[in-house]
Symmetry: C2
Subunit: 248 residues, 2 copies
């Protein structure tokens, strides 16, 4: 409403990680007009967690919805006997919390240090109801997540351990480095978290990582750093080396 809040809004529009938008993405900001941005700016608060912190347990009251600003968080489901499967991996600009449902359906854990931009449910849902641009964007984001979940199901149901690990590494490498070989990244996940993502055990993940390294398709730098000159090789040739060239 005031000149200063509009100035903040314009500044936000100049970056990809828009600061004033619940969905934290330029595509939305571009369609948010002044008044909406003002309302959002008044609703939001920030909060941070350390790597490993549990942000919410399954069944907890989650009195906010939020947009992930920095870091990486996971959604996991645990069966009665303790088996656990990751079912969501949130990266910056991803949305957390379901409008209209206060209970957390999954355990939410900070994989790395995390900052959330949080909105009180009441205010957010009022805004959703009378801001078609934002609700349409939220629908798009849900459908993108559904597509991602379906790709993930193919991975869980049909891929071999080596393909699983290669696929996950490729996803992370692509997100981290915007092209320009060699692709490099710091893994935001522990081996445990990777195993949970992939439906494998930690030992199998570890073995496949060293197998990929020995096959020459990736390089490891310490326990978190990875590099890859050829994503295609990672994804297709992974599992060759039949003559054992790299093992001798």
């Amino acid at each position: 409403m005031t000149v200063s809040s509009l100035a903040i809004a314009s500044a936000a529009l100049a970056t990809d990680a828009c600061d004033s938008c619940p969905i934290r993405h330029r595509a939305v900001c571009a369609s948010c007009e002044g008044e909406e941005l003002d309302r959002l700016a008044e609703m939001k608060t920030y909060r941070s967690w350390k790597a490993g912190d549990v942000i919410a347990m399954e069944g907890d009251e989650l009195p906010f919805v939020a947009s992930l600003v920095t870091g990486c968080a996971s959604l996991t489901r645990t069966l009665e006997d303790g088996r656990t499967q990751m079912v969501g991996l949130l990266m910056p600009s991803d949305f957390l919390g379901r409008p209209g449902r206060r209970m957390a359906a999954y355990e939410v854990t900070a994989a790395t240090d995390v900052t959330l931009c949080m909105f009180k449910r009441g205010a957010f849902e009022v805004m959703l109801a009378d801001t078609p641009n934002v609700s349409r964007r939220l629908l798009e984001m849900s459908l993108d997540e559904l597509d991602a979940a379906r790709e993930w199901m193919v991975l869980l149901g049909r891929k071999t351990a080596r393909e699983k690990v290669a696929t996950l590494l490729a996803i992370i490498l692509r997100r981290a480095s915007n092209d320009a070989a060699p692709l490099r990244a710091q893994l935001p996940l522990t081996r445990d978290a990777m195993a949970s993502y992939l439906g494998l055990t930690i030992e199998t993940v570890s073995r496949q990582m060293t197998a990929l390294r020995k096959a020459g398709v990736i390089e490891l730098d310490g326990t978190r750093g990875i590099a890859c000159h050829d994503l295609a090789a990672l994804l297709t040739e992974a599992g060759d080396d039949e003559d054992g060239t790299f093992l001798s």
Copy 2:
């Protein structure tokens, strides 16, 4: 707009499977007002497929969105080497097609005989844009599907073959019979489709079905009929019978 179309709308409201609503569900119809129902009635057309028919291949142009009226259809993804994983199972009132994307992202196959209620994309999207009730309902449905996909991921990633089969049977039994033991159903899926759903082979599905029958937790009637007096037993005790009582 006319008296007769309003009459049709009211009649539709009296049943759960609403005939005039793109989302085919009373919850939506209850929030759809007269004018919207009229517009929907003018947009829709019906079309049927036989069991086994391919409704759309991955990458096909899908010039409509639709609501599944009767029967059961599957979404599947196939890897380059032919491995295939089901990633969606549509039942009556489920929605098919993504607004804003004309390409089919998955192969759509009729599991049983199927009828779709179809809407031209252009008209549907115009209506979406200025009908908040319907677009909100579509968001809810997407989020429900996302939850279902995540349950499915737990199944694919962490459950044993026996648990997988038991879980699928329980889902079908619950949908088919509204309580009142013994639960009975005709499976809408072939063993092949079940294997595709579960990330297993057809042989393993078959073996687990007979194991569950021998353990006494289900009965089989021909190849498609199943019954179960005790869902809890199916889901928890599945895999016991350690002393072989039922095998002697």
